[in-house]
């Protein structure tokens, strides 16, 4: 019974982790950027969805759409206002672009966090779920919302997979993540590819944020932990490997759930952190990363 419960409960939370991390790894793969304002963008999307539906009286569907849109806009603003200027700056030596992008997006994330707290306080908020009620799943009572979350996550992941592997435009993104110079020589401007990738990232972060808001709730305090968890999952899976992130999300999600059930909810995150440290020592490139 407990095994079954772990199986059911771990599934949705892991799917959510995966969706959150996927966009993060995608932009790293294509543009080499680790976006430390990731958590702030997810929270922006969730709080926007909450505010739209709970405060300004839009319906829950319109609210969710507004949330996702805010994620998209936030991601593009992050790219144009923070990342692109750093990458283009001549005053920053090439070898130091990485630390500048990290610090820059980190500061940007703090700015977003502060604005959210300022306008909507730092109280946690939950987005009104699109579907309510519970179902019995092999004896485990599961909220429909949890199933809905898992379902949406997987549909989005599948769409992303299909886009990248099947659609012509998506193939270019995949190719760009393997060899940017190669796609340039084939006549694709990396500048436009970056914009496309950030847009996709924004959509993914927005969807993940809104789902998180419905499933677990967010507050401006969630910004740091959300970024840290995406960062950990992505590194664990192998930077830039979308499949790796998916696997890592499930490993972390189930490890946390199992710890909560079998050991104690108080130690929930500790085994995952220890695993991460162990993997870094033994296999620094992560599960599916290449070096």
């Amino acid at each position: 019974m407990i095994g079954l419960q772990i199986l059911v409960d771990g599934f949705a939370i892991s799917a959510l982790y995966a969706l959150g991390a996927m966009g993060f790894t995608l932009i790293f793969g294509v543009s080499g950027v680790l976006n430390l304002s990731h958590g702030a963008l997810m929270v922006t999307a969730a709080v926007a969805a909450w505010a739209a539906s709970a405060q300004y009286g839009f319906g829950s569907y319109a609210g969710a759409a507004i949330g996702v849109l805010c994620g998209l806009v936030g991601a593009l603003v992050t790219y144009f206002a923070v990342v692109a200027p750093i990458e283009r700056s001549k005053a920053i030596p090439r070898a130091e672009k990485e630390i500048f992008v990290l610090t820059g997006t980190l500061l940007w994330g703090i700015m977003i966090q502060q604005l959210v707290a300022y306008f909507y306080t730092d109280n946690p908020k939950t987005v009104l779920p699109l579907i309510e009620g519970v179902v019995e799943l092999a004896g485990v009572r599961t909220p429909r919302n949890e199933l809905f979350t898992a379902l949406v996550c997987w549909v989005v992941i599948a769409l992303l997979w299909a886009f990248v592997n099947k659609a012509r435009a998506g193939k270019v993104l995949l190719a760009a993540s393997m060899n940017p110079r190669g796609v340039t020589l084939l006549g694709h401007d990396m500048g436009r590819i970056y914009i496309a990738v950030w847009a996709i990232y924004g959509l993914l972060a927005g969807i993940a944020g809104v789902l998180l808001g419905m499933f677990l709730g967010v507050s401006s305090y969630s910004v740091g932990p959300l970024t840290a968890s995406a960062f950990s999952i992505v590194v664990l899976g192998g930077l830039g490997s979308v499949t790796g992130s998916l696997i890592a999300a499930y490993v972390v999600g189930y490890l946390e759930t199992a710890t909560a059930y079998l050991v104690s909810p108080a130690y929930r995150v500790i085994p995952a952190l220890l695993l991460l440290v162990a993997v870094m020592y033994l296999r620094p490139q992560g599960f599916l990363g290449r070096r």
Partner: protein, 305 residues
């Protein structure tokens, strides 16, 4: 090699002015600066790792926290004298520094950054889990403090910052520091020149950890309390990093400048309430985008041209 001398001539008057401040400035401002000076040491110690050893440490607060809690717990639990507590805290931080140095030698860039971040998260979790010993999220109160006199505390912090800055600058500019920079900038070339890159980096970690840990311990015995929120939280680490980048990377002294600047800015912007953090972050972002060399870099740029 004339720069250090000139730098000293520039800094000495500043120090003299700072030392005389208690004669004319209120206790509150002194208290503010006291904290700023300890943060200055955090930033300078971080800069030794980043600017010279080339290691991006996202978890300066891991080392600080070890020093602070190591010292605080001994005093709180066993009533051991402050100097011994500080020593033990510093040693604990050095051990933590060595533990970070091991992955630093194997990993690069974001991978190492993540390990340092995870170290902070683990420490944070452990403090909450072992709240019997650590006081958990409500913090640890130490019975003893160094002094309750604002002036004395201020002078101690100022002296500590000056001495730390001097030692760290001396190390950074010494022949050993030159080797460290070579190891940080291009480990392959440094190895080919016959330098054991690992040895020098480990030493840098130990030194950085010692200063971070000692400063962490001192701040505990200044405030009379240690808590996750004030010393370990990643937000604190971010502030230390921002201070160093803002002041000017690889200058050591820049970290001190940045730390004082940040705390002063926070105070000046206090009327903005919660927006003050927003404004400070925005200002720091603007500096990063437009003056990547930081405040000191800006100054030296002027001089060069």
């Amino acid at each position: 090699m004339t720069f250090p001398l000139r730098g000293l001539l520039l800094i000495l008057p500043l120090l003299v002015v700072a030392a005389l401040l208690p004669l004319g400035v209120s206790g509150y401002i002194l208290g503010l600066l006291t904290v700023a000076y300890y943060f200055a040491v955090f930033s300078m110690a971080w800069d030794l790792l980043f600017g010279f050893a080339g290691e991006v440490n996202f978890g300066p607060t891991f080392l600080i926290g070890l020093g602070a809690y190591g010292a605080g717990i001994l005093n709180n639990r066993y009533g051991i004298d402050i100097p011994l507590c500080l020593l033990a805290g510093t040693l604990l931080a050095v051990v933590g520094g060595l533990a970070l140095a091991v992955p630093a030698l194997k990993l690069s860039g974001p991978y190492f950054g993540l390990v340092t971040l995870v170290a902070v998260l683990l420490l944070q979790n452990l403090i909450v889990v072992f709240s019997d010993l650590t006081g958990g999220e409500i913090g640890l109160t130490v019975p003893d403090v160094i002094s309750i006199d604002a002036d004395t505390n201020y002078w101690i912090a100022l002296g500590f910052m000056a001495v730390s800055g001097l030692i760290l600058t001396a190390i950074a500019r010494s022949p050993a520091g030159l080797i460290l920079q070579a190891a940080g900038q291009d480990p392959v070339v440094a190895g080919a020149l016959g330098f054991n890159v690992a040895k020098h980096k480990i030493a840098a970690f130990a030194v950085s950890a010692a200063f971070s840990g000692l400063a962490g311990g001192l701040i505990v015995f200044y405030m009379g309390t240690a808590s996750v929120g004030t010393l370990i939280d990643t937000a604190v680490g971010v502030q230390i990093i921002i201070a160093a980048v803002l002041g000017g990377r690889r200058t050591i002294v820049g970290g001190a400048l940045g730390a004082v600047f940040l705390i002063a800015a926070g105070e000046i912007l206090r009327p903005l309430g919660s927006l003050s953090t927003f404004v400070v972050s925005a200002a720091a972002l603007a500096v990063i985008l437009f003056v990547p060399t930081g405040l000191l870099g800006l100054a030296s740029l002027r001089r060069a041209s």
